[in-house]
């Protein structure tokens, strides 16, 4: 079995003559792997995800998923979007999770079983009948995760800073749950974030990007920590410092800032 | 698949082709049946339009209609904005006026024409009154909405710096609500055109509305069409002016006021 996702010399820009958003990116993500793409804001992380999802076409180079070149969006790759406006406000939590199954023409009985199972998986039992606006930010992200996992054909989860708009405590809880769900489902994950500790807490490998425009990957850091991971261990701190070193070099060159202004 | 509008270089061709086809058909059909129906073709309409501009008759009608609108619009906007600021800020006053505002906003201005003519006579005042009414309520309602949309913290901040009620008005409430008021004025401008046309058809001897209705009596189809298109043009220009006004004022409130 080959790689889950392969990027070969991937370059992207919106129009002829406009600056490169992504430049000469090579990457391979293995089946069942949790890969984190880490980089400062505006470095082109989301563009990489859009290219893999099939929302955009590469200007140069190639994206392959399970060995096949990507022709457009497909059910083998589920996307969990940044923010929560991809949920359908006129559908309840359960109906949102059911949506992809309806699109696929699945029978009512099959749908009900899968929906119930995945709502249970993300801990939304008791909230099935609520509409997105009646749910907290964290719950909405759980709905998104359930909706992404519910399609049986899904092999890859593409997650675009899914927890960026929830509070810190909820984020930590969701990260732990995601880690559990991933270990059970063994689907490949591409997770995008700008939060170093999130990257170290979740990823098997962390790809640190250079800052845009024309971004590519500076270094891939392997995270060989046992799960569930604890942030208080020395090894966690070392990895954090190492990655921060890589990023701050990139950012400081841009922003003229030294190491002193560490973020949380 | 993205639904945001994208404009291409050749957009106008796509739109122009059906228009050209319609105009051509109209021209040919009109020419073929001229003897029987006397319907003017587009070229004939254009010629009449040019003649009416040249002899000043069209400009005279435009002048009359525009003056009615602008006078009424200015008075109505000023009234509506002032009242809106007061009603938006003083609860007791608003509670008192609430029922009247509710009721009045559902009374189309034109339905007051009989009252206006009986009270103010057939002259200019009755028409101006209708436009004042049109503008006042639109601007009033939008100004109140604008005052209520001001974030509480913006008001509290000014208070904490020691601003008094007057300063609160001049430094926070007025700049914050201007944009809403202008939105109201834009809508009011559209409604003013709709009102003045009918008012001039019913109770006037001049103006573009009168031109349209009077030409109907004489079956001057070309003049009817000229009146209609002139109104569209004026309405468009007035709307453009309102948008310009909003944008130029927006420069003075760059922080999202």
């Amino acid at each position: 079995m080959g790689e889950a996702i392969e990027l070969h010399g991937l370059s992207f820009r919106y129009a002829e003559g406009s600056p490169w958003v992504v430049r000469d990116l090579d990457l391979a993500i293995r089946p069942g792997e949790f890969f984190v793409l880490l980089g400062p804001s505006g470095c082109g992380k989301t563009s990489v995800l859009n290219l893999i999802a099939g929302f955009e076409r590469p200007t140069r180079g190639e994206v392959r998923v399970s060995g096949q070149p990507v022709a457009g969006p497909g059910a083998d790759r589920a996307v969990i979007f940044q923010g929560d406006d991809s949920l359908y406000p006129w559908l309840t939590a359960a109906q949102n999770v059911e949506f992809p199954l309806k699109i696929r023409g699945m029978s009512r009985r099959e749908r009900q079983g899968l929906v119930a199972e995945h709502l249970r998986l993300v801990g939304l039992v008791g909230h099935e009948g609520k509409y997105p606006h009646q749910l907290s930010g964290g719950m909405r992200q759980r709905v998104q995760i359930a909706r992404a996992l519910v399609v049986p054909e899904t092999r890859i989860l593409l997650m675009d800073e899914p927890f960026v708009s929830v509070d810190a405590q909820t984020r930590a809880v969701l990260q732990g749950e995601l880690s559990d769900i991933w270990m059970r489902s063994r689907k490949a994950v591409l997770f995008i974030t700008h939060d170093i500790s999130e990257a170290v807490a979740l990823g098997d490998r962390v790809g640190v990007m250079t800052s845009g425009p024309g971004a590519s990957i500076r270094e891939i850091v392997g995270v060989s920590l046992d799960r569930p991971r604890r942030r208080s261990t020395p090894r966690f701190g070392e990895l954090y410092e190492h990655i921060w070193g890589l990023i701050s070099g990139t950012v400081a060159a841009d922003a003229g800032m030294g190491r002193g202004s560490t973020h949380a | 698949m993205e639904l945001a509008s994208r404009r291409g270089r050749n957009d106008w061709i796509v739109a122009a082709v059906p228009a050209a086809a319609i105009l051509l058909t109209w021209e040919v059909a009109a020419a073929a049946t001229r003897a029987r129906y006397g319907v003017p073709g587009p070229s004939h309409v254009l010629i009449t339009w040019g003649r009416m501009i040249a002899d000043g008759s069209l400009l005279a009608d435009i002048n009359v209609s525009l003056r009615r609108i602008l006078v009424g619009f200015a008075i109505g906007s000023a009234l509506g904005y002032t009242a809106g600021l007061l009603l938006g800020n003083f609860r007791a006053l608003r509670r008192f006026c609430d029922p009247y505002i509710h009721f009045s906003r559902y009374v189309p201005p034109i339905s007051l024409i009989s009252l206006a003519v009986i009270l103010f006579g057939i002259g200019e005042n009755s028409k101006v009154f209708l436009i004042v009414y049109t503008a006042t309520f639109m601007v009033l309602l939008n100004t109140i909405a604008g005052v209520h949309a001001i974030p509480t913290n913006r008001m509290r901040a000014a208070r904490s710096f020691g601003a008094g009620t007057f300063q609160l008005f001049t430094h926070v409430i007025v700049p914050s609500s201007v944009s809403h008021a202008i939105t109201g004025m834009r809508i009011a401008m559209g409604n003013a055109f709709a009102t003045i046309v009918v008012a001039e058809m019913l109770a006037a001897r001049s103006g573009v509305g009168f031109l349209i209705y009077n030409s109907y009596q004489y079956l001057d189809i070309d003049k009817i069409l000229i009146g209609i298109f002139t109104l569209g043009l004026l309405g468009y220009l007035a709307d453009l002016a309102m948008r310009r006004l909003d944008r130029s004022l927006a420069r003075f409130r760059p922080l999202g006021f």
Binding site: A53, P73, A75, F81, G83, S86, Y88, P89, W90, F99, P100, K102, I103, Y131, P132, H133, Q134, V151 | M1, L3, S5, R6, D11, V14, A19, R95, F96, D98, P99, Y100, I101, H102, Y106, P108, P109, I110, S111, L112, I113, S114, L115, I118, L141, A145, A149, G190, N191, F193, A194, V198, Y213, I224, L225, G227, I228, L231, G232, G235, Y236, D239
Partner: protein, 279 residues
Amino acid sequence: MRDDLLRPRWRVPRQTAILPRTWMPIAVAAQTYVVAVIVFLVAWEVSSRAYGIPLLVPPVEVTFRKLVQLVKQGLLLRDILWTTGRVAVGFFIGSVAGATAGLAMGYWPIIRRMLEPYVNFFRFIPALAWISIVLLLLGTGEVARISIIVYTSVSAVLINTLAGIVSIPPAQLRAAQTFGANQSQIFSRVIFPGTVRYILTGMRLALGSAFMAVISAEMLVADQGLGFLVINARLWMAMDEALVGVIFIGLLGLLADRLFGYLVNRYAWRFYGGTGSEM
């Protein structure tokens, strides 16, 4: 309108011994309405006496007697029914046509590019400016009046539908694509439900302009309807009759708007994502 204070609070709760706390504001609102009507009537009576010409500013009593007379003759009911019927038919046809055209334009860029310049041109022409042409083409019957209402309704609904389609978050479309939804599924399950609230906003505006249009049309060419009642009153200098007409035009418009808002809040609230319909 954003301001909830501008929404009428007509519903007076059934009388109970002790009004629950939450009902108090409604009771207060009811009081303000009663006060408002009384103040209005008193002011009217005073200004009528001060003016001194009952023909121009008729006293309350005279107007009320006129109202009773119009009701007894059945004329008021007849005019109300005609006006309501015309608005209902024109509004319905115009809304369906406007929403259909708007969805088509939003969905197929080619149609949009073809029609958009015309929409932008025609929306600045007031409906009633067309009356002469309409009368020439369609005669002076019901079709002419209703077509004017259709015209105003179409433009309001169409423009709002277009705005709605553009405002659908791209993430919603992309999510559907990742689930393998085809074009017609995206249209029926994402674009249309996502646009419903804008269509309804357009319909509410259209309802207002439909009343404006029907009154104007009835003033210009009709033998029944509230617009006719008002304009006919002017010929006889019957100020009392004109006043009755105006009051009922306002009431009818208010009632229609509230009914529409009620139906939207009752049946279409899901499409507002918790922000409330503001109707």
